[in-house]
């Protein structure tokens, strides 16, 4: 954009600092709004409770191997531990998409205009928006960590640090994706459409609630998943995000451990670029 030359007349020219502060203001607005949105907060807390405490504990006994009649865990973790990182991803998905949907609100209720007639270049408006949404989503993702002890997931400072980084990358990529979708969906169809058409399919197809290789739980060794299902899981980028989180929190990877972070970074770059192309047109 040709829109960031220093002004000679205004004492507060749009220097790098002023532009950075502008991004900060947009980021801060997202955080304030999220903190005041009680519905979103309730969702962010109840979702992990449901998935970890109810589904996780409920299915825990079925995720095991039987060796010569003896019931024991063949694999070095329980079902609870297995889905725990995936629930982090789920919480992030919901929150990211929700904050992207707020873009539709902004458009509907005019606030977007206030930002678009400001001297901020559009790419920075979008950056602030996505960073804000991503920060909120990352915080919601880390809410799940509170349940770590119930799921027997050990938490170390190092795993939290790297975990937050992975969560942030996933949040950033997904918020960009959400913006990309939101700028095509002009009407207020509501969040239900998003959650059913985007979030849940991506979540279920990310090897989040079952391992890609059924042989992991010995009892199912005879079963092989149909090719179409394996294919869908393999092309879903969320699969690799979940794998990276799993590698970090429980030390288990189904793919090359480097693949996860690479896919996450690629998601961020590609989705943000596409979102920008759409957003620029307005």
């Amino acid at each position: 954009m040709n829109s960031a030359p220093a002004s000679t007349e205004e004492t507060s020219g749009p220097g790098v600092v002023a532009l950075a502060l502008g991004v900060y203001a947009i980021w801060l607005r997202e955080l304030k709004r999220a903190a005041r949105d009680r519905g979103q907060l309730i969702g962010g807390i109840s979702r992990p409770l449901l998935w970890v405490l109810i589904l996780g504990i409920g299915l825990n006994p079925y995720f095991r191997g039987e060796v010569y009649g003896q019931v024991r865990f063949v694999i070095p973790f329980t079902y609870l531990q297995f889905i725990f990182p995936a629930v982090i991803a789920l919480n992030i998905m919901y929150t990211s998409v929700q904050s992207a949907v707020s873009l539709i609100w902004d458009r509907e209720f005019g606030f977007l205009r206030e930002v678009l007639v400001s001297p901020m270049p559009r790419v920075l408006v979008l950056l602030g928006k996505v960073l804000g949404g991503a920060t909120v989503a990352m915080l919601h993702g880390s809410l799940v960590l509170i349940l770590a002890r119930f799921a027997d997931v050990p938490i170390y400072p190092a795993s939290i640090g790297y975990g937050l980084l992975l969560m942030f990358l996933l949040s950033f990529g997904l918020t960009s994706l959400g913006v990309l979708i939101a700028s095509r969906v002009r009407s207020f169809e509501g969040f239900g459409v998003f959650s059913n058409a985007v979030i849940l399919p991506l979540y279920f197809l990310s090897s989040s609630i079952f391992p890609l290789d059924p042989a992991l739980s010995r009892a199912q060794a005879a079963i092989i998943y149909p090719e179409w299902l394996v294919f869908l899981i393999r092309i879903n980028p969320i699969t690799y995000a979940v794998d990276a989180l799993r590698g970090n929190f429980i030390g288990f990877n189904q793919f090359d451990p480097n693949l996860g972070p690479m896919v996450l970074v690629a998601m961020c770059v590609i989705f943000f670029a596409l979102a920008y192309l759409d957003f620029r047109r307005g």
């Binding site: 040709n2 829109s3 960031a4 030359p5 002004s7 205004e10 004492t11 507060s12 020219g13 749009p14 220097g15 002023a18 532009l19 502060l21 502008g22 900060y24 203001a25 947009i26 801060l28 607005r29 304030k32 709004r33 005041r36 949105d37 209720f109 005019g110 606030f111 977007l112 205009r113 206030e114 930002v115 678009l116 007639v117 400001s118 001297p119 901020m120 270049p121 307005g282």
Partner: protein, 316 residues
């Protein structure tokens, strides 16, 4: 650049599909003027303002804000503009002060200056005691005032307002104008405002009457009134027959309006004779002095505010 006029429009045109929203719009607004765009709904006023605000590119022509082209130098142009949109663009989930502060940061106003301006503006629009209230708890009039204050947190030279008084009661409308006048005197602002309330533009420096995307008159209110204005008798007949009889008698002078008749007074003699003759057929009567409403009527043959003619343009 230093002595460029506040706004310079040259032959602006815009279409939405086959609908012509604006055609050949050319005018100049000098610094410090209050410039009113008057016209019925759908005349193209909002489209024109959106082009000025750099959020809608024109199909043809050029528009300059203090010498900056809105298409080629949008960021510089925007820095000079304070915009109040027709639909509120406040963030209702933020407080009054947070909305102002957000605006200040995004426009790059340094913190100390921001604090000072915000305090002054809150005072000017009498919202100081609501500074920590969420915007969603404010009344429509308060929100308007807040939006005007917000538009001036940065160093805006031109205040652009699109139908700022729609949805406000008469008292809020009046007080809103009082605030604008106060701020204008203080800062030497240029004000560009669209409206379809004629009484609001009587005190402006220039009135530009737009209809169906074209400028049909552009001058000071006094001169427009002197050129085109007439006095009118506005009356409600006792029954429809009486009304029909009057309309038949003076086909050239009578315009039917929703609640009765509007009769142009060609000369002083006419009024006396008319009242002597038809006094008994009239239930209610008032005399409209020369007003811009009558100017609009004289030029277009239509009422400004009444939905008499189907509007053709769209006010996107």
């Amino acid at each position: 650049m230093m002595d460029a006029p506040a706004v310079e429009l040259q032959d602006i045109g815009k279409r939405y599909g086959r609908t012509v929203a604006l055609e050949g719009v050319t005018f100049t607004v000098e610094r410090g003027e209050v410039f009113a765009l008057l016209g019925p709904n759908g005349a193209g006023k909002t489209t024109l303002l959106h082009i000025l605000c750099t959020i809608l590119p024109p199909d043809s022509g050029t528009a300059k804000i203090l010498g900056y082209d809105v298409v080629r130098q949008p960021t510089r142009a925007r820095r000079k503009l304070g915009v109040v949109f027709q639909q509120s663009s406040l963030d209702t989930r933020l407080t009054v002060e947070e909305n102002l502060d957000f605006h200040g940061i995004v426009y790059g106003v340094p913190r100390a200056l921001r604090r000072k301006r915000i305090a002054e503006l809150l005072d000017a629009v009498e919202l100081t005691d609501r500074r920590s209230a969420l915007v969603q708890t404010l009344s429509a009039g308060m929100r308007r005032r807040l939006e005007i204050a917000r538009a001036l947190v940065h160093d805006a030279r031109i205040l652009v307002m699109d139908e700022p008084t729609v949805g406000l009661d008469a008292r809020s409308r009046e007080s809103m104008w009082r605030y604008v006048d106060g701020l204008r005197a203080e800062r030497g602002l240029t004000v560009i405002v669209t409206t379809h309330y004629v009484e609001e533009v009587e005190s402006s420096d220039k009135v530009c009457i737009i209809d169906q995307g074209r400028i049909i008159a552009l001058d000071s209110p006094e001169r427009l009134k002197a050129m085109h204005g007439h006095e009118y008798i506005r009356l409600v007949p006792v029954d429809p027959q009486a009304g029909a009889a009057i309309a038949e008698r003076f086909p050239d002078l009578v315009t039917t309006v929703p609640d009765g008749l509007l009769i142009r007074i060609p000369d002083a003699e006419f009024r006396r004779n008319f009242l002597a003759e038809y006094g008994n057929s009239i239930r209610q009567l008032s005399i409209d002095r020369q007003s811009l409403e009558s100017v609009f009527l004289a030029i277009t043959g239509r009422q400004l505010t009444a939905p008499t003619a189907p509007t053709r343009g769209t006010s996107k």
